[in-house]
Symmetry: C5
Subunit: 282 residues, 5 copies
């Protein structure tokens, strides 16, 4: 145990600088591949079975796309609806940390605080935490001398409130995923009523019904291949972010309580998946 800590720091004076996290924005290939691949698949099916043209109908698109936008926006404010556009992008490109990286980082901070014998020492490393605003805030609470229990409560509340907020953003897409098939159904009913009103000419029945079905088709595609999966992805991301912030919160509270960092390592590993468990000491 003694040599393990020696291997980590060469002395009391030269304390190890916690590595800043490289948290650049990355593209989510699963999202890109999934959406693009899905559309290529069904487009191929359309072309294979005839011409693509019979699947394009501007009024039908307007009813489903426009109607979904209109009806979804009833349940929210204009500000939220506009923000929803950028929310969708966040399912494709975002900055996300690995829970194990977060655990290593907070352990290195805990190690520094322990070795220097004072949480004030962490102030020197705070410029490295600019990339991780939650951790930055957490550490500054400790450095400001707020009691560890209060820090834990404040951070916990923030983790929960952040998660709620992200879930609500995903909720707009999830709502759109419910509205789209409904608008598709409404469009198809309009088409059916119009078609049934002029049944005299049997040759028009087929094409008229094909057009009527298009809104149902658009609604099903939008809901099942775009809105609902993107909402799930956003919820998943919110979940991972909450887990990372949880790790920061646990670690910061432990630093504030001046606990042994080895104890913190055990606690963090109890919530990390086996493949992501960390070994900072020994």
């Amino acid at each position: 145990m003694a040599n393990a800590s020696a291997a980590n720091s060469t002395g009391q004076q030269a304390s190890p600088a916690p590595r800043p996290i490289q948290a650049g924005v990355t593209l989510d290939f699963a999202t890109l591949l999934g959406v693009a691949g899905g559309f290529i698949l069904i487009t191929s099916a359309m072309i294979l079975g005839g011409s693509l043209g019979s699947f394009i109908d501007i009024p039908a698109m307007l009813i489903v796309l426009g109607g979904t936008f209109m009806v979804t926006s009833i349940s929210y404010t204009l500000k939220e609806v506009v923000r929803a556009q950028s929310v969708m992008l966040r399912a494709i490109a975002y900055r996300q940390q690995q829970p194990s990286d977060a655990a290593m980082q907070i352990l290195s901070l805990a190690d520094v605080a322990r070795k220097q014998g004072s949480v004030l020492e962490l102030q020197k490393h705070m410029q490295n935490l600019r990339n991780t605003p939650f951790l930055h805030k957490a550490i500054s609470l400790v450095v400001d001398g707020i009691p560890a229990d209060d820090v834990a409560r404040i951070l916990e509340r923030e983790v929960y409130a952040t998660m709620q907020r992200h879930m609500k953003s995903a909720g707009i897409l999830r709502r759109a995923g419910e509205v789209a098939p409904a608008m598709g159904l409404i469009g198809t009913l309009i088409g059916l009523v119009q078609m049934l009103g002029r049944l005299e000419d049997p040759s028009t029945i087929g094409p008229a019904m094909a057009v009527a079905l298009l809104t149902t088709f658009y609604g099903a595609v939008l809901a099942n291949m775009v809105f609902t999966p993107l909402a799930s992805k956003l919820e998943r991301n919110a979940d991972v972010e909450a887990q990372v912030n949880q790790i920061y919160a646990m670690g910061t509270a432990s630093i504030g309580r001046q606990e042994n960092p080895r104890r913190l390592e055990v606690a963090l590993n109890s919530i990390l998946p086996p493949s992501e468990r960390v070994r900072y000491f020994d």
Copy 2:
């Protein structure tokens, strides 16, 4: 820290008067645009594909609209059903505060109480709180000398009871959103049974079926473009109001406990979204 507080108040005597909140009733453009836009879209589709007349059938409207009203009212009392009319208006025009405004207001009250060294000082500012009945009540509890923990419990209970009440109001619309498609289905079944009973004349099949489908159409439009989105909007508004009241409750309890207002600012910011965080001090 000292100069920050100096920047805020010019002295112990001239305490800053907390600004009253301008909480006038505002129209909700998202609701108005969404409902109007949605109806314009589907009306255009009806006109484009033929005449609007084939979509208007008074008996079908009576079944769906009247039936939805009747059946929905079974689950409630007459009083609640009548009140539901005004509830729908509250999805269009209402008075709502920003959480950040609420946070600033309660912080200014906490600041006054701190600087004057007595919660009784707040009595002078209570006429400014007439626009925000919840805050007015919360502050009077503190001024009346009720212990901070009791105040917190009373306010918490009121936040919860208010939210429950608003959710129940939204529930009437949500219920109507379930009943409308059911009445549409019942109407369509009536139409189908009548049509199938006199199948001899094939030329009447089309129009008869078109009419039969109209109740399903009305039910789908009412439920998906009116009742359900309005219910969601009401629930969202109840949510925001609960958040605002939560902020008032947290702040009032903090004032009652005579905590440092800076501590309160940190606590409030932990539940506000990043874009709405407040900086009252420095």
Copy 3:
């Protein structure tokens, strides 16, 4: 404060007698109007579009009504199924108190106990509480000298158990509301299979299919216009009763703890809707 209490009681000797509550059984017009109105609406639609006769088919009624009764009773005991008949009546005629009346009553009892300085004084008023068995029981627990915390726990448990029991009763109707459309579907499938088996004579297709659809129609009407709305009404009533009992339980515990009744008034008003808040003092 002193004159307020003087306005309420003319002296220590002549303590105010808490008013007994007039809780007679009242008819629920919303339920009656809703069910009757709904049926008048769809009957009109049937007559307008042809003869009522084509909507009456005894075997179809037997399948849906009888089948719903049979299948629903599988999930319960015979005793519960028989009791369900009277449960349905309770959605039409029942005795229900306003939460504000309950609050006034318990406040007057708290006032008596406070002024006389002893909970034993309440024994004199217990004959007035015969109409409200829950309150009667609650007060007798206090009069019997059971500690206030135990009284609170016992009453809380009873409020919860009563609510659960009412919900279970409503559950029978809710279950019937699920079974009815299923029986309708089964009946329609039987009709369709029979019709498809003798497709030779095209003239019989229409009427046969009309009859087949009738079970679906009966199932939809029963479920959506009778069972489900009545279940909702029963659940709503259970909710209001729980709220009333909650008020009695809060008040009784407060009397047992010999708290100031003014404090109780504040606590009760925190859970009452603004329009039902009470002012017993001043």
Copy 4:
């Protein structure tokens, strides 16, 4: 009060022997009547509208019955699937106690323990509790001298675990109730694809489609008239058993704490329905 206890026991020496409970296995007539009656109803409808023969198709039955068995067993282990057979029987014939009988029994035990002044006295009555293993176990924990709080915690955990286990058993039937209609749909799709492949001979369309619909019919009947109602019955029985065990657990903990049995009576009556409340004393 004194004479009430005298009426109960003729003296300190001749303590009243708590009556053993007659908990024989009883048939559940609601289940039997419901299943049998439902099947008689739909069979009559089949015969009335033609021959029963057109509703019997062995391959269709194999798909639905066999498929439901196969697919349901994927989600469980072989052992659980085999046990599910006997689980279904438990919805028809089972041993169940009335909550009020359980309350009387535990009250009589509490009375004995109180009068003899020692819980060890209960050891003499334990042979009477063989029919009620949960109560037997509960009393032996107390007799073994385990502290009352530990007894309460152990019994609570067992009540919960037993309920979970019964719910899981009911879950197999509930799962089968979901699988059966899915298998019915799959069977109908197979039939439709086969029928549509040889559309040349119009005279075969009707019968082929009738057969295709049969799997949907079987699936609907199995799910709605057998699996789902039986699952509900099992869940209801688990609920009643949990309530009975809850009563035993409350009573045993009260005996262990050597509380006054009259206090226990009040507590038990607070969770019993009004019609089942017990009066052991006076």
Copy 5:
């Protein structure tokens, strides 16, 4: 009691070695039989009613299988999607312990610790626990001298986190089970629109519609006979694993608190089903 413990260990010196658990990977026959049997059943039905060839359509398979893969992967990361393949295998072959074996093992460890009077004695038996990593970790926490309450909290958190992780894995399959029918519907809509566009030749209607229905068929089979049941099986396995780990956690905490192992036996039996209850002592 004394002879019971004598029967268990022949002396203080020769302490009984806790048996290592034979937890090899076993095939889950219920899963194998269920999936294979189900497919044999529907394949038979296809062959009986004509040729198998009319049920095979490569483009339709591509839409449903490929589309389900693509759309499901949108909601996850590429890493998770790849891992999902092996997750499916874990529904067929996995290593699982019986709760009763786990209870016996932890009881034998508790017995050793009790008899030797020190938890450090357990270090000698830790090589036997390699097969059960959770137990191994739990015991090493105790041996490392971490206080029993902390051990309980750490293990509880790990049980919960592990369960959450397994549920999330099952969630991928559950999501695929929702996506597959949606892709089936989209494929059928494409086929219908194409067919309706060229209605001139009536002889092509049947086969074209048969092909259109195939995607719905594939979607129903994949969702109901593969994805959803496998997801249920994985959730069930996660449940059993959590129960086993719960037993280890309870036992380890009890060892850490140096409680009497007989007390632990009673506690463990309160959560085990009656058929799995253990008797380690006497």
